[in-house]
Symmetry: C2
Subunit: 580 residues, 2 copies
């Protein structure tokens, strides 16, 4: 059958969505319409005065507004802790139909196999999951041990996978502007594929921004200041406006976007969004509601999340309600409250009133049963201690400033030594941090002290620890640290809180130590309990998971502990833990 | 050298354009700026408060406005009658730096060789000439003889040529919406290359437009009515707003575009522009001035001809003044009068005050010396006559309505026969039209009468005769017709006016019978003289060349003469010349 016959009215449409107002993202008009769907595509969208469409089936959208399926241009699925299938079940009812995701978390654990897994795991699900290849694995070279390193030849090979549409956030912006060979080669290879090259340029403006942009990346989701956002928009970078679990940029960005009258180089994204926040707030629909609450125009915000997004990711088969496009149609209650009611994907009615009509069931893939926490049970707590044969030592400690969230500084502290180990039992302000390489490559482990991190008792361990996802453990006593670490070693990864030798909260993440095969209802509940657990140990944070997961992230100033040692982030050098 | 070092200020820019106001096509702002150029690319564009840039050389653009190089998204170079090199010399000083051209005129004469010639002839010239492959050669199947026919396999082969970026205007919209095999196959092949598929959909709205659009084409340059334009914009087709030598759409389109607040699916184009008009009026700069004179916003019009255009043709290496883009920069006097003063291509100063600084010289290519008028000298005028052994005949005549420009109707007329030939010497309202197949394929020739075409004396002949470009001759006396035809046969093609056996005006077009290797100064003069010549024979038309070139065009209602006979355009059938 030729769809032209249906469109011309010689045969009936498969489905006609009637009685809706459509949001036209080209002209920014809203008018009453009907949408005729054939073979999973939009066949025709009525304009005022067009004749009614005839369908084999009808859907009455009375009182609702039809918009194109929402697109998230920058998301790490691993941060949702769910498999692509469960994420699909979770966010389709929120109106999201397409993701451009960068699987760089799993890539740091499982390398090419991890990327391949994400591609395979997102096959044959209603959500369109496109892959941007992880460009910086690991985030920085030589100062920590990841499960893999990606070079240009790896990137080139992975471009042949299905639904790969470009290169993921090019985080090593210092490498790019200073002509690091690894980044030059990866960018050169990627440009050949003519795909989207996604940027990551926190704080970059002026000549540095231009140097970065001229190398290829043309978007950014890291603008957190009004001047920075304005600069990037004028420079022609596409602002991927972010509302994640951790970072809330819309209050800063919305006024700039309004001031510049909604430039077309703007999209919406969620970056890292945890399951409980997804369940409570929503996904891109939440970003749109946030924009509306900040005085943004709903039609412009919808355009950002659809037409603008499709252009950025170079997928012009979607992003608008227009003939020939994929029939991803979302019906919302109204444009002020913006509650998603019904969702159609490729013309099929897949979700209604916040629920999937039929949930997708994931196929089991080999990667899901791999144990990626390649550590033996820890028999003694000595590996959580700093040994010395002196009476006391001076050590570099990682110091938190309560006003600076996850930014740290480095201070020297003199610590007494008892029975051969540095003893911090008299120091309420200090706790112990250990990092274990868990990819079976070096068996490195490192221990250092942390100041002003407000854990009062117990221990927390996590195999989610950006970007290499080694096992991090922080605690006030080394017995609890040992228990916490061993729990994750035995369950294949996750995040756990321990107090007095007992589990307070545990999120098991057996897939690469990052994800679970549980659905959102389970994940939201356990994540929520985990956050309460972490807070109950004294850590007063709105984002307690990232607080733990960032101990080892050697791109956040000023000092971090990796499996290779204490890292001076600015100098990108290992510095001694014991100074004297 | 890495351009990053220059951009960061470690080395000097090759050139800095200073003291300009730039038109920012992303934010639609205008502000003072400097543009740093390195390796032919824009390295940095200053924003307010940025430090001054250091260059090896400087250009002082005092008082001028810098805009990106202008892009024509739909042009047939053959209609300019010039080679790509001479066209480059002619329009770069007008600010045009990029063309998306459809060489379907030469394709109808020389087939694949013609397309290849246009690609080769536009190599190594400063103007960026991108090719959209001719999709409909000939425009309609089976009712005339072209020099070639293109099928999917030809299209597929030509996609491998350099600078081919898509499929040219898909004129056979009836074929597309009715699933003609030729068009289905060509569209299927073209979609694989992920390029631009250019539409041509005169008058199409509603379900027919959707049927066409769903097949692939996503633009249109044929909208001539406000309702039609509004419909297409809402449907998501990109309107390529046209000001050609023949058709002036801006007065209709500008109000619609303003009403819809300048949707981003709009570009500018010239389609068919003759050399004298190019010389007198300009090129895309003229379309912009026309828009401004109609109350259009200059910044929005500039954006249409740059950023919007680059997105339509999928060339995101240009279309804006932004880091990493090709340094095609145009300086204009101001935004109201919009006079182009200086032009930089890939950072080189190539034109100033309406003149090239160094004119490009075309290389000689084999195709240019081919004789494509494959006809022997016509010895007798009998081929311009309709023979009969009756006393009189009834013939179908092609009838002009003076109010309808080139649209015709069909009428039956009884004509007396003298000495074996129909004789119209007593009929001031009739003239004779002959068409000769000139591609050496059939040797067909046809003669019919034309009513109300106001040629009072002499004859006109042309090898420019859309779309097959056979030799057409129209005249009041068959002796002049013979002279006119023989002149073109002996010079290898062109357009000629003859009166009393003498040439009044002749434009020689030896390249495919369509183009000359003469520069614009020569071509503008001879074309102008030709138009005067045609008018001196009684033809009162603002576009006399197309008036002649359209006699044989079997897609313009209602009746045309091709080398195969009289064509009923609506039915796409040959009808008899002699009825009884």
């Amino acid at each position: 059958m030729h769809i032209q016959n249906v469109i011309l009215g010689k045969e009936k449409f498969d489905l006609v969505i009637k009685n809706v107002s459509i949001v036209n993202v080209y002209t920014k008009e809203v008018y009453e319409s009907e949408i005729g769907i054939v073979n999973g595509l939009i066949g025709h969208v009525n304009q005022p005065d067009d004749d009614s469409l005839e369908g084999i089936a009808y859907f009455d959208g009375k009182g609702m507004y039809a918009i194109p399926g929402l697109i998230d241009t920058h998301i790490h699925i691993e941060s949702t802790m769910m498999t692509p299938t469960n994420l699909s079940n979770a966010i389709i009812p929120r109106g999201t139909t397409t993701l451009a995701c960068d699987p760089h978390e799993i890539a740091n654990v499982l390398g090419v196999e991890g990327v391949k897994y994400m591609v395979e795991a997102s096959e044959s699900i209603p959500l369109s999951v496109f892959t941007l290849l992880p460009s910086c694995v690991p985030s920085v070279e030589n100062i920590e041990t990841a499960g893999a390193e990606f070079y240009a030849e790896d990137i080139s090979k992975m471009f042949e996978y299905e639904r790969v549409i470009g290169l993921g956030e090019v985080m090593d912006f210092q490498g790019v502007i200073n002509n690091a060979q690894r980044m030059n080669d990866i960018l050169d290879v990627s440009k050949k594929y003519n795909g989207f090259i996604q940027g990551h340029a926190p704080g970059l403006t002026g000549r540095e921004l231009s140097a970065y942009q001229a190398a290829g990346p043309n978007s950014d989701h890291e603008a957190s200041f009004a001047d920075e956002a304005r600069y990037k928009l004028r420079a022609g970078m596409t602002l991927e406006c972010r509302e994640s679990s951790i970072v809330h940029d819309m209050p800063v960005l919305m006024p700039v976007i309004k001031e510049l009258n909604y430039p077309e180089n703007t999209t919406l994204c969620t970056d890292d969004k945890e399951p409980d926040d997804l369940m409570l707030e929503g996904h891109i629909d939440h970003v749109i509601r946030t924009g509306i609450s900040l005085g943004g125009d709903p039609v412009e915000l919808i355009k950002m999340a659809t037409l603008n997004a499709s252009k950025l990711i170079k997928m012009d088969d979607r992003g608008a309600l227009a003939a020939g496009k994929k029939a991803d149609v979302v019906l919302v209650s109204n444009l002020e409250e913006f509650q998603v009611k019904d969702v159609f994907i490729s013309g099929e009615h897949v979700a209604s009133n916040g629920k999937m009509i039929n949930e997708s069931v994931g196929k089991e893939l080999k990667v899901e049963s791999l144990n990626t926490v390649k550590l033996s049970k820890i028999e003694s707590d000595t590996c959580f201690k700093i040994a010395s044969n002196k009476d006391s030592i001076v050590t570099n400690v990682i110091t938190y400033n309560p006003d600076m969230h996850i930014v740290t500084t480095c201070e020297e502290e003199r610590i007494p030594v008892n029975n051969g180990y540095a003893n911090i039992s008299q120091r309420d302000d200090l706790s112990t941090l250990s990092v274990f390489e868990r990819h079976g490559r070096t068996n490195n482990h490192q221990t250092a002290f942390v100041k002003n991190f407000k854990i009062k008792e117990g221990a927390i361990a996590s195999t989610v620890s950006h970007d290499c996802h080694n096992l991090v453990v922080i605690g006030k006593n080394t017995d609890d640290m040992k228990v916490a670490a061993n729990i994750l070693i035995s369950c294949g990864g996750g995040i756990v809180c321990v107090k007095n030798g007992e589990i307070i909260a545990l999120v098991e993440l057996p897939i690469a130590g990052l994800m679970s095969s549980d659905p959102i209802e389970v994940m939201a509940k356990s994540t929520n309990k985990l956050k309460e657990g972490i807070r109950s140990l004294g850590i007063d944070s709105v984002s307690p998971i990232i607080q733990v997961a960032a101990f080892s992230l050697p791109v956040i100033p000023h000092v971090r502990l990796t499996d290779k040692g204490l890292v001076d982030v600015i100098k990108q050098e290992i510095i001694p833990i014991i100074v004297e």
